[in-house]
């Protein structure tokens, strides 16, 4: 009877020691970066330009996009449409959700995470940034745009990625063609941003400033012609990206993968998930459990950057094709673990947070990567001394912006969180704090 069965047998794990395999292959450096910045500062256009100049996107595709963009009178959006593919995004000219794309230089395999700049879509930006090793902050250098960005999301995004653990930042000073490649404009922005970023906790040697023009393409892949900006001798955007240091990967820890997307991978892969492996390793055939649902599944195939692989390690953004699980058990933000070490599900936690705005007991949305859930700050436990972490004042009535405090948070429903995870607290559409779960 068994021979009559048409069901595909569950794939057997090869029982590889993935960490050893990883070290044996001596892989090419890989890195993912999130593109952040205020709305309309040219993030998507810059990424479209980068992919086109690196021949990831061919002339024919771009011509087609140009034609479509012309048809609705938005010809300057053609490059951005490489990243902004949904109807809504194209009709409104605004990125809604972050887009993932890949390219390779001689030294590194890159993953682009192009985040939305509009303040309403910061939850999506947080989801994108949680998958990144470092960040590219795009700033519009044209008159008034830089200044309005400062009041808007330029600062908020920078603070967010910093509190989510990003240490390296490339500042792309965009639309230099509109500023006529004026050196003093570049220097002015550089000085203002440096002062702010250092105060926000970035180290000066980890910040690189690159002037460029995304729409026309100067200094993105190809250096800017000397007749336009003889004063600039620094790297192009691509060489600055190549210069980013590799981040350490927590491969030895238990597997944690945050589900960012659940979709149908095709006829032979009816259920697929994607996300970044925050820590640990996995291989095809592994039995996994999705928390908080607690449902088990097995990994049929693994894809990294559209290539099928046998195993994957922390830091990689993967697509897992699953079997033996119903999609109703999976939600955005769930955590995939191995059966041997599942993550706990909690409804309450204490966190040490840096206050972006005044903190009071009351409603908050708790964000961790792609996960967001509503909850409330139950109590302000104490304000802490910034450098020593000692308790400065117990049970404060209110926490002032810039202070570090321990708060206790209760969530609407049980969520998979554990000590050491980085969370962001938001309320009424504003980021009010960010920090670490204790």
């Amino acid at each position: 009877m068994a021979a009559l069965s048409v069901a595909e047998p569950t794939k057997k794990s090869k029982n590889l020691n993935v960490v050893e395999e990883y070290e044996k292959t001596n892989p090419k450096k890989s890195a993912s970066f999130v593109v952040i910045g205020h709305v309309d500062h040219g993030k998507s256009t810059l990424m479209g330009r980068l992919l086109f100049d690196l021949k990831v996107v061919d002339q024919r595709t771009l011509d087609k996009l140009r034609k479509e963009a012309d048809a609705i009178g938005k010809s300057s959006f053609a490059l951005a449409w490489v990243m902004d593919e949904t109807k809504e995004e194209r009709a409104r000219g605004v990125t809604v959700d972050f887009a993932t794309n890949y390219f390779e230089t001689d030294a590194t395999k890159f993953t682009i995470l192009d985040a939305p700049g509009h303040r309403d879509f910061i939850p999506n930006m947080i989801a994108g940034a949680s998958q990144a090793d470092f960040a590219v902050l795009v700033i519009d250098s044209s008159t008034n745009s830089f200044e309005s960005g400062l009041k808007g999301q330029t600062k908020e995004h920078a603070l967010l990625v910093r509190s989510m653990g990003v240490q390296q930042l490339i500042i792309a000073i965009n639309k230099m063609d509109l500023a006529e490649w004026a050196e003093d404009r570049f220097t002015e922005i550089q000085q203002q941003m440096s002062a702010f970023l250092v105060a926000a906790g970035f180290q000066a040697q980890n910040i690189t400033f690159v002037p460029l023009a995304g729409l026309t393409g100067e200094n993105v892949v190809n250096p800017v012609p000397k007749d336009k900006a003889a004063w600039y001798t620094g790297p192009t955007l691509v060489s600055a990206l190549d210069g980013a240091r590799a981040t350490t990967r927590a491969m030895e820890k238990p597997l944690r993968l945050s589900i960012n997307d659940i979709f149908r991978g095709g006829v032979i892969n009816p259920l697929s998930i994607s996300g970044r492996i925050d820590q640990g390793t996995l291989q095809a055939g592994d039995a996994i459990v999705a928390q908080p649902a607690g449902e088990t599944a097995s990994i049929k195939r693994i894809e990294v950057a559209s290539q099928e692989v046998d195993w994957a390690v922390a830091g990689q953004i993967v697509i897992l094709h699953l079997t033996d699980i119903d999609p109703i058990h999976l939600r955005h933000g769930d955590i995939v673990c191995h059966l041997s070490s599942p993550i706990t599900t909690i409804t309450e936690f204490n966190a040490k947070v840096l206050a972006f705005e005044h903190l009071l007991p009351g409603f908050v949305d708790v964000h961790r990567g792609p996960l967001h859930v509503s909850g409330k700050i139950k109590g302000l436990v104490a304000t802490l001394d910034k450098s020593s972490g000692e308790i400065a004042k117990k049970k404060p009535r209110i926490v002032q912006p810039g202070q570090v405090a321990r708060v206790s948070v209760e969530m609407e429903k049980g969520m998979s969180l554990e000590e050491g995870m980085r969370i962001v607290l938001r309320s009424e559409g504003r980021t009010i704090g960010a920090g670490l779960l204790e």
Binding site: E85, T86, K87, E88, V96, D97, A99, T100, N101, H118, D120, F121, P123, S163, G165, G201, N260, D261, I262, F263, R264, S306, P327, L330, R331, H332, K352, V353, L354, H358, L360, P361, G362, F363, D365, S374, K376, I377, K378, L384, K386, S388, G389, E390, I391, K394, R397, I398, V404, R406, G420, R426, S427, E428, G429, R430, A434, G435, L436, E438
Partner: protein, 419 residues
């Protein structure tokens, strides 16, 4: 609600009254009225065992028969359980007036609902809050309701907002695949399906034939609300759904910070909504909480929250004429502890009658009331600054008992956040 009979001695607060709730909102008021210790008399059904001899002599004794008896019963309330969604209040207690079926002291649960008359007697007297609740509930006009859909990608909360309650009728969650390289079909398809589910769910809850049609607010961050409204318009046209087409003008599309219910206040406070709302009780309460929190942020010593702080502020005469506002969540008056209840009633009476300040009692089923509950259920805006109120209380506490505080277990990764 109708007051059928009142035998309350206004001066001493003793006596009983008979009430007839007529709409769901009334049940919320009744929930706030009925407290443990009160005597409640109402019609109810009880299963009783009746002995019968019909079985003849073959059985060892008489045979018991279970019957459902319709009786009017008086119970002394022990606990209450309110279900906002079905507007039913279950009151459990012990029988206090004996009758044919129930002995004194036997337990029984009476279910109160609309169009069901009952009599309530308060043994320890009717306080000003309870009398206010009856007065408020017996106002003749039907309470205005507003429907709202707060949504974001893949999540929609369908709620109804009345002057005293915000009820989530249904939550719709649909998993929407994200955009991928060269493939947005799944995303667009799932989005269309999501709109379809939200619309059909809404139509199941909302009676479109009411005149005048209840206003519907669709709120979301970004343009999800516009997208859904467009879908609604198109569906109304393509299916020639006449009631839906007629309903479209009473829809307001606005912005909210997220798709969670707690974001509803940002939508209600938007200028577009203020013009639309005839009964703006919830909007004013929401505004009051906003002002209060602004005061807290300014840290000028004029806004205080927490039971001890507010009590002290009232004692010191800070919540008086000329701008003093005391805000109390009505959950405090539902406390099972009589002393606790009396304490808050006394505080309210004092502010209103002696100090001359304004008193606002916020409904704990509204967003503003929930925000206040997060702050300990009570807050006050003072007429003059009183800095250091919390320290005074701390000192008093320290004097009362020796502190056993260790503290200082916080070290670790703060450095990563701030350096």
């Amino acid at each position: 609600m109708r007051l059928i009979r009142s035998a309350i001695d206004r001066r001493r607060g003793e006596g009983s009254c008979t009430l007839l709730p007529s709409e769901p909102e009334d049940m919320w008021h009744i929930y706030n009225l009925v407290r443990p210790g009160d005597n409640l008399r109402a019609d109810t059904i009880r299963k009783v065992a009746k002995e019968s001899n019909a079985g003849g002599e073959t059985d060892a004794g008489s045979r018991k028969q279970i019957q459902r008896a319709h009786i009017t019963l008086t119970i002394t309330v022990k606990s209450t359980d309110f279900d906002p969604a079905s507007s039913k209040l279950r009151v459990s207690g012990q029988c206090s007036v004996e009758n044919e079926y129930v002995e004194l002291g036997q337990h029984h649960t009476i279910e109160l609902e609309t169009e069901k008359q009952f009599t309530l007697e308060k043994v320890d007297g009717w306080d000003s809050i309870a009398l206010d609740t009856i007065r408020e509930a017996c106002k003749p006009e039907r309470s205005a309701e507003l429907w709202a859909i707060v949504m974001q990608d893949g999540l929609a909360n369908i709620c109804v907002v009345t002057p005293y309650q915000t009820l989530v009728k249904q939550k719709v969650e649909v998993s929407i695949p994200k955009k991928r390289i060269g493939g947005v079909d799944q995303h667009e398809k799932a989005l269309g399906k999501f709109h379809g589910v939200v619309l059909s769910t809404m139509l199941r809850h909302l009676d479109l034939t009411l005149t005048p049609p209840p206003p519907l607010l669709i709120a979301s961050p970004g343009h999800y609300a516009q997208g859904f409204f467009k879908y609604m318009q198109e569906t109304a046209k393509t299916t020639s759904n006449k009631p839906l087409i007629a309903f479209l003008p009473s829809v307001v599309v606005t912005h909210s910070s997220t798709g969670q219910v707690s974001a509803l206040n940002t939508a209600l406070n938007s200028p577009a909504m203020k013009n639309k709302l005839r009964d703006a009780k919830y909007a004013t309460e929401s505004k009051l909480m906003d002002d209060f929190q602004t005061g807290l942020r300014l840290d000028n010593g004029k806004a205080w929250y927490g039971p001890e702080e507010v009590t002290l502020a009232v004692e010191k005469g800070g919540v008086g004429r000329g701008g003093g506002v005391l805000m109390v969540s009505n959950s405090l008056f539902r406390s099972n502890d009589i002393e606790e209840r009396r304490r808050w009633v006394a505080l309210v009476d004092r502010v209103r009658d002696v100090e001359g300040g304004e008193v606002r009692i916020l409904s704990s089923l509204h967003e503003s009331g929930k925000r206040l509950e997060g702050l300990g259920g009570v807050g006050a805006i003072l007429t003059f600054p009183m800095p250091g109120l919390d320290e005074e209380i701390e000192e008093a506490k320290v004097a009362a008992k020796v502190g056993t505080e260790t503290g200082g277990e916080g070290e670790g990764d703060v450095g990563l956040i701030i350096n």
